[in-house]
Each structure stands twice: as structure tokens, then as C-alpha cells.
């Protein structure tokens, strides 16, 4: 194995399979999104999507659900992760391990669990109804989807934010208290600014996670709720008519938006480093 070509031979199978099942599909989408089944090469697919109220609604619902679930998930994760760092290690170890396990609890099983909990005859729905707190709850609406998305964002948020709290030194808190700062002032001027890169980074990951999620919403509404991943899937595997090129354009819009937020994140990171130095 002193000859490099033999070493290259070890890498080759890996690159071949990765290329065929990860890079090639992506390249196909990028290429064919510019190839319309009716008018040939050009921007016709993108024009069709951006001119159709149906697809625009899917994009709007996707953005709304992702944004709200990411904000709610992040806030709950922030409060939860901070308290996790302040309790005794036995309780912390247990809840962190449990959070780890629930981070795999998504998709179809989660949709069923939520139907049992919050469906029309769900036990929590009935309990809240009997207490007179709600009239009824419809899980199969935008609000219901935001709730279930928030649920699967929480474990991810906690696991991503938890390590960031180690950067907060107890000394700073004591110093701030000595100088007469209250809890609110400490968080406003010290805690949150120190945590902000981790918060923004986690928010970006949660947003991308929600934008691409398909299994949960598909299982819950049998593909009847209009969001971008459901539309993409329907265009390539629906029962009525298939338009893979249009699906490619919609998929490219999703990928482009994710790339954009990642670039903004990188830019913010660079800027914050610049300010600090």
C-alpha cells in the first residue's frame, strides 16, 4: 500500500456509490429544473411555480409552520437547556438521555402518538374539554402542525444548545451581581449576547429541519395538507399525473432557500468574530 494508486482504489468504491446516490440525483434536479416538459429548456418551471397560487400557498404554509415551530422550539429548548445545567447531575443525566431518545421519535410513529393525545377524541383534547378550557382541537390544521413540529424541534434544540451553556462562567454572574445587575440585566447584557451565535446556529438547523420534514405531515394528513415537501412528493409519486421536472424546480427552490439561510448564518458568524476582535 505504499503505492498511492492502491490507496486510491480503496477510496474509489466509496466515491462511486456516494456519487451515484447523493451527487447524481442532486445534479439531475439542478439540470432538469430548467427543462420544462412543454416549452423545453428555460425558466418555465420556475415561472409556473411562482405564478401559481396553489404552489405559492404551499411555500407560504411551509415557511409559516417552519418559522413558528422553530421559534417556539428554540424558546422552550433555551429555557429547558438552561435549567438542565442548574439541576443536580442525576436528574440532568436522566432527562438528557431521555431527550436523546425522543430526538429519534419523529415521522409516522409521532403522528400516531399525537392523534391519540390530541386527535378529535384524543385524551388530552377530552381532558381539556371537560375542564372547559377549550371547545375542541383540530390537529389537522396549521396550528396543529405547528404544535407537532414544535414537539420534534425541542429535543434537537436542547441537544444543540446544552453544550453552549458551558461558555457561561459562574464568575460573570457573580461579578454582574456584585456590580448591582439584576437577573434581567445579566441576561440582557451578558448571557444572551454570549449565547447568540449558538442560538442563531440552532435556529438555522431547526428551520432547515422543519422545511424538509415530510413524514410527519404526510402521515398526519395523508398528504392533504399543502406544504412544499408534500407537493414535491405528489409530483413524482402521485396518482394523477407526474411532472418530475416541475418537482425538480420546487426542490431546487427549497435547496436554494436552505443554502441562503446557511450563507447568511456564515456571514453573521464572520461579522460577530470581526466585532469581537
Amino acid at each position: 500500500m505504499k503505492r498511492p494508486w492502491l490507496a486510491l482504489l480503496l477510496i474509489l468504491p466509496f466515491l462511486l456509490v456516494f456519487g451515484a446516490f447523493q451527487l447524481a440525483p442532486l445534479a439531475w434536479i439542478a439540470l432538469n429544473s430548467f427543462n420544462s416538459s412543454e416549452s423545453g429548456w428555460g425558466l418555465a418551471n420556475y415561472g409556473e411555480i411562482l405564478g401559481s397560487p396553489f404552489y405559492l400557498q404551499a411555500i407560504r404554509f411551509s415557511l409559516e409552520i417552519s418559522l413558528w415551530s422553530s421559534v417556539c422550539g428554540l424558546l422552550i429548548a433555551l429555557v429547558g437547556a438552561y435549567s438542565l445545567t442548574r439541576v443536580d447531575s442525576r436528574l440532568r443525566g436522566f432527562v438528557v438521555a431521555f431527550t436523546n431518545m425522543t430526538s429519534n421519535f419523529a415521522g409516522v410513529p409521532l403522528a400516531f402518538a399525537f392523534i391519540i393525545l390530541l386527535g378529535i377524541n384524543g385524551c388530552l383534547t377530552l381532558a381539556l374539554k371537560q375542564l372547559g378550557l377549550i371547545e375542541g382541537f383540530n390537529l389537522y390544521t396549521k396550528g396543529g402542525l405547528i404544535l407537532i413540529y414544535t414537539y420534534f424541534q425541542i429535543p434537537l434544540g436542547v441537544l444543540l444548545l446544552f453544550p453552549a451553556f458551558e461558555a457561561l462562567k459562574q464568575d460573570w454572574r457573580d461579578a454582574a451581581a456584585l456590580l448591582g445587575a439584576g437577573t434581567w440585566q445579566y441576561w440582557r447584557h451578558i448571557g444572551l449576547p454570549v449565547l447568540s451565535p449558538a442560538l442563531v446556529g440552532t435556529f438555522i438547523i431547526l428551520l432547515a429541519n422543519a422545511l424538509g420534514a415530510y413524514a410527519t405531515v404526510y402521515a398526519l394528513t395523508v398528504g392533504n395538507f399543502n406544504v412544499v415537501p408534500v407537493r414535491i412528493a405528489a409530483l413524482v409519486s402521485g396518482d394523477i399525473y407526474l411532472e418530475p421536472n416541475l418537482a425538480a424546480a420546487l426542490a431546487m427552490l427549497l435547496v436554494a432557500f436552505m443554502t441562503l439561510i446557511t450563507l447568511v448564518h456564515q456571514w453573521l458568524l464572520k461579522r460577530s468574530r470581526h466585532v469581537q476582535s
Binding site: V17, G80, M101, P109, L124, L235
Partner: protein, 261 residues
């Protein structure tokens, strides 16, 4: 910390736990209930749903198929990733930066996006793979890759690869022998952690399975989805059985990880 503060933090942590456990607890109770509809508490408790599930040949077949695909994908991952990572670490350390970008792709590109291209590329011609379990084995390799690569890479960096190889060479071992008998055993823990973690999310994969193969090769998740119009108690028993399996896998991975450090 004051008493009030301590109480507040304990309360928040328990509340977080309560939120996360609520859907699971409801499913657990439902799977054990004889009947539970339109009342606050179930009528009685029974294990019959579990017995019915675990004696259903369709469920056992779906479970077997899921296991076959997951094991196949993990075996393929080991065969492809381990030699490549060894060659990169030993011969082309500069490629590591490129690899770190490549392994982000399966993370960044949602499965529903990849599926669009896969359905067109492998639906006809000599490479007719859609509708067969083979395509899932290859796709699951790509989604397991970031986790496998990270875990093994951390382990490789902790080893002194070059010194270990030099020592083995000095003692007269060929490079092949050194890689197999010295390096590989040292990577065992990192590899096992990666395998258990990958297994626990591969067995829950639905998007590729549904879009690329569907009912032609019914995996556990597809079976669960197809049960949606049947008895909710049976579905609950399946969800709980599935979660217990995932729990066991992540628990083993955590234990292995702790032993290492």
C-alpha cells in the same frame, strides 16, 4: 443558588420531561387499554394488542424486511467507509477537508429532494432499482454516512495512526495486516457507537421507503402507515414496540460511549 431558584429549575426540567413524555405515555396507555374512546380513562387493561401484533405474520415479515435493509445498509457502510477513511487518513490527509464538506450533503438535502432525482435515474434501463429493496440499502448508506464518518473520524484522530503503522511495519507486518489487526480493533468502540445510533434512526426511515419502494417491499414504517385505518390499539402497540427497540439501541450506544471516555 437560592431555594426558589433551585425549585424553579427543577420545575422547568420536569415540565420539559412531561412535554416530551406526554405523546409516548398516551400511546403506552392506549396500547394497554381494552377500549378507550370518548372517555377520560380507558375501560380496562390488557396485553392482547401486543400478543396480536407479535403473532401477526405481516408484522413479522415487515420487521424482518426492515432489519434486512438496515443490516445491509450498515454492512455496506462499513465496507465502503472504513477503507476510504483509512486511505484518506494515511495517504491523503488533505482530502479530509473535502470529505467534511461532502458529508454535510446528506444532512442538508432533505430525502424528499433526493428522491426526485433518484426516481428518474433508477426507474428504467440497466439500473432498474426503484421498487426493489436494493435502492434503500444504497440510500440508507448516504444518510448514515455523516454519523458514521464523524464517529470514526473522532476515533481515528485520537489514535496515532502513523506511529501505530510504523511500529507494525517495524515488527514485520504488511500494511494490510497492520490495518486489519492493529488499526481496526482500535476503532471498534467508535464504530459500534456509530452503528447503534445509525440503526436507531434507519429503522425509523419513512420518506425513501415510501417514495422509492412503497408497498412493493413493506418495511416496518410502511406497515405502520398502512395500519392507519385499522385498530388504533394495534398501531399503539406497534409504536411502543418500535420505541422500545430504539430506546435499547440508543442506551447501548450511550453505554459504549461512556466506557470509552
Amino acid at each position: 443558588m437560592s431555594r426558589a431558584e433551585r425549585l424553579y429549575h427543577r420545575l422547568v426540567v420536569w415540565l420539559l420531561f412531561l412535554i416530551l413524555v406526554a405523546p409516548l405515555a398516551a400511546t403506552l396507555v392506549y396500547s394497554l387499554a381494552t377500549q378507550w374512546s370518548a372517555t377520560l380513562l380507558p375501560a380496562g387493561f390488557t396485553l392482547k394488542w401486543y400478543l396480536q401484533l407479535w403473532s401477526d405474520p405481516r408484522f413479522l415479515a415487515a420487521f424482518g424486511r426492515s432489519l434486512a435493509i438496515c443490516f445491509g445498509a450498515l454492512a455496506l457502510s462499513c465496507v465502503l467507509i472504513l477503507p476510504a477513511m483509512f486511505a484518506i487518513a494515511y495517504h491523503f490527509p488533505r482530502l479530509d477537508a473535502l470529505m467534511n464538506v461532502l458529508i454535510l450533503l446528506p444532512f442538508a438535502v432533505p430525502p424528499v429532494v433526493s428522491a426526485v432525482g433518484l426516481l428518474q435515474l433508477y426507474a428504467s434501463g440497466p439500473l432498474l432499482l426503484t421498487g426493489t429493496p436494493w435502492i434503500l440499502v444504497f440510500c440508507y448508506f448516504t444518510i448514515a454516512l455523516p454519523f458514521m464518518y464523524r464517529a470514526i473520524s473522532n476515533n481515528l484522530q485520537a489514535l496515532n495512526l502513523r506511529d501505530l503503522m510504523d511500529a507494525a511495519h517495524l515488527l514485520g507486518a504488511s500494511s494490510w495486516r497492520a490495518a486489519l489487526l492493529v488499526i481496526l480493533p482500535n476503532l471498534r468502540t467508535g464504530l459500534m457507537v456509530a452503528l447503534f445510533l445509525s440503526f436507531s434512526f434507519l429503522i425509523g426511515e419513512f420518506v425513501f421507503a415510501n417514495l422509492l419502494v412503497g408497498t412493493r417491499y413493506e418495511t416496518l414504517q410502511i406497515y405502520l402507515y398502512n395500519l392507519r385505518n385499522g385498530s388504533g390499539h394495534l398501531t399503539s402497540a406497534l409504536v411502543i414496540s418500535y420505541f422500545l427497540a430504539v430506546l435499547l439501541m440508543t442506551w447501548i450506544a450511550n453505554r459504549l460511549n461512556r466506557e470509552r471516555t
